[in-house]
């Protein structure tokens, strides 16, 4: 009887482990495909000598990577639209910037001019959403 007990329990371990592995693999595949599918968006514009990097904050920051020009004054324009999640609290450590974004609206943050080859990254207060801007 003991043998059959441990057999059935081995079986349930195997079954649930299989299920868990399936979930993990599924999750990884899903994340991969969603990242591959992200087409490069043109979210950087230069108006009267000032470069604007436009980012939307809601359930994360998009686009999560932006390509900007180095050496010219740059401003970050963060758009919120009914945003209540973590991304509404923006942290840019390099600039020592921390702030709550308005629930709906646009916030302009002066980034200054950056050297070529540098990267500026921002995150939300809990650290699980982030974005970066590469300067070239």
């Amino acid at each position: 009887m003991k043998d059959s007990d441990s057999k059935s329990s081995n079986k349930s371990i195997l079954l649930s482990s299989g299920f868990a592995i399936l979930l993990v693999v599924g999750a990884i595949l899903m994340v991969k495909s969603s990242e591959d599918g992200a087409s490069p968006v043109n979210n950087v514009e230069v108006v009267e000598g000032v470069q604007y990097v436009n980012i939307t904050a809601r359930g994360g920051y998009s686009p999560s990577a932006s390509e900007a020009q180095a050496g010219i004054p740059t401003k970050l324009n963060v758009k919120t639209d009914g945003t209540f999640d973590c991304s509404s609290f923006l942290v840019i450590n390099e600039l020592n910037y921390q702030g709550t974004l308005p629930q709906t609206g646009e916030t302009e943050i002066d980034l200054g001019a950056h050297e070529p080859g540098t990267t500026l990254s921002g995150t939300c207060s809990m650290g699980m959403y982030n974005f970066k801007i590469n300067f070239n």
Partner: protein, 335 residues
């Protein structure tokens, strides 16, 4: 009269000792019993000529329904323990992956526009309670609840004090934010550091629930758990922890605090934060009382280990997030 010593497994709570001894003393042939919870052994005196195996058969028959198992050697007990762990691991991992997929799905990111009313606060609270904030606030509630139930403290009273303290704390602090207006804000670094402390506590409690400290005989943390055991009996501690959750880093809480700050009056700040806390209440109550009822069921060992796996996972997630947001480590994942 003969004396026997057996190993006993499944003793997950202090009251188990009393239960086992009571049931065994009802048997006529047993003269005395003594359970040592720490060593997981039982001493039995009886005046009946039976072989060890026969006695084990009788004991296991009497206490099987309560999920206690008696055996001759410890080895078997530890096998059983690791068996439960291998069952708990996939359960915990599945829960973590489902949580991750829920965040990734974007279901929780619908925008809420317009003025913040008590109703929208309530809705945002409901969403927040299954969002990434669950990692830190929910993880803390789950780990504390499971630990409290495991230590067999009067859990209902402790839970009511915690959740009551949380509701009142949110209301009063929200009112104060409304009163203070833009003049003050909650210090961001303070809140992130508090979050790091909470995640370390979660990881410790999680490992304790899995049973890592017991099996590997790591002695150092026993002082910490001794201290924990002392304070969980007090009235003030659960209330303070409940109020303290106001300051934990959670994007939703922070943006509601911002609304309360902008609201301009004590009463409107109070309503915003109170209704937000009410919105988070169902999930948090379910975590507390669900833990308690599972902890007192026959699935208790499996529950503690599964909860431990979940709590360690959420704790690591919160810990890494906190370090990223302080700029200590580079972000390497993006939900």
């Amino acid at each position: 009269m003969k004396k026997y010593t057996f190993h006993v497994s499944g003793t997950h709570c202090p009251s188990c000792k009393i239960l086992i001894e009571d049931i065994l003393m009802e048997q006529d042939f047993i003269k005395s019993t003594k359970v040592d919870l720490k060593k997981e052994i039982i001493d039995i005196e009886l005046d009946n000529e039976k072989s060890e195996n026969e006695i084990l058969l009788v004991l296991n028959d009497k206490l099987k329904s309560h999920n206690y198992v008696f055996s001759n050697d410890k080895l078997e007990v530890e096998n059983k323990n690791s068996m439960v762990f291998w069952k708990a691991l996939p359960i915990g991992v599945s829960f973590l992956v489902l949580f991750f997929l829920l965040q990734k799905s974007g279901i929780l990111n619908f925008g809420i526009n317009g003025e913040i009313t008590p109703i929208t606060s309530l809705l945002i609270g409901l969403v927040a309670s299954v969002s990434s904030c669950l990692a830190i606030v929910g993880g803390l509630v789950l780990s504390l609840s499971a630990k409290i139930s495991q230590d067999d403290v009067s859990d209902t009273k402790t839970f009511i004090l915690f959740h009551g303290g949380r509701l009142v704390g949110f209301a009063v602090l929200g009112g104060l934010l409304g009163l203070a207006g833009k003049a003050i804000g909650i210090n961001y670094t303070f809140s992130v550091i508090l979050g790091l402390v909470a995640s370390v506590i979660m990881i410790m409690l999680g490992l304790n629930l899995i049973g890592v400290f017991k099996n590997n005989k790591i002695t150092l943390p026993s002082n910490i758990f001794g201290f924990f055991r002392k304070i969980e009996h007090t009235t003030l501690a659960p209330i303070l922890v409940g109020v303290g959750t106001f300051f934990l880093p959670c994007g939703f809480t922070q943006s509601m605090q911002f609304s309360a700050l902008s609201s301009g009056s004590f009463s409107s700040g109070l309503l915003i934060m109170l209704f937000f806390a009410l919105g988070t209440l169902p999930v948090l109550l379910a975590l507390s009382f669900g833990s308690a009822s599972l902890a007192h069921s026959k699935h208790a060992p499996l529950f503690f280990k599964s909860a431990g796996v979940v709590v360690v996972g959420l704790g690591l997630f919160a810990l890494i997030g906190g370090l990223v947001s302080l700029g200590i480590i580079n972000p390497f994942f993006n939900i």
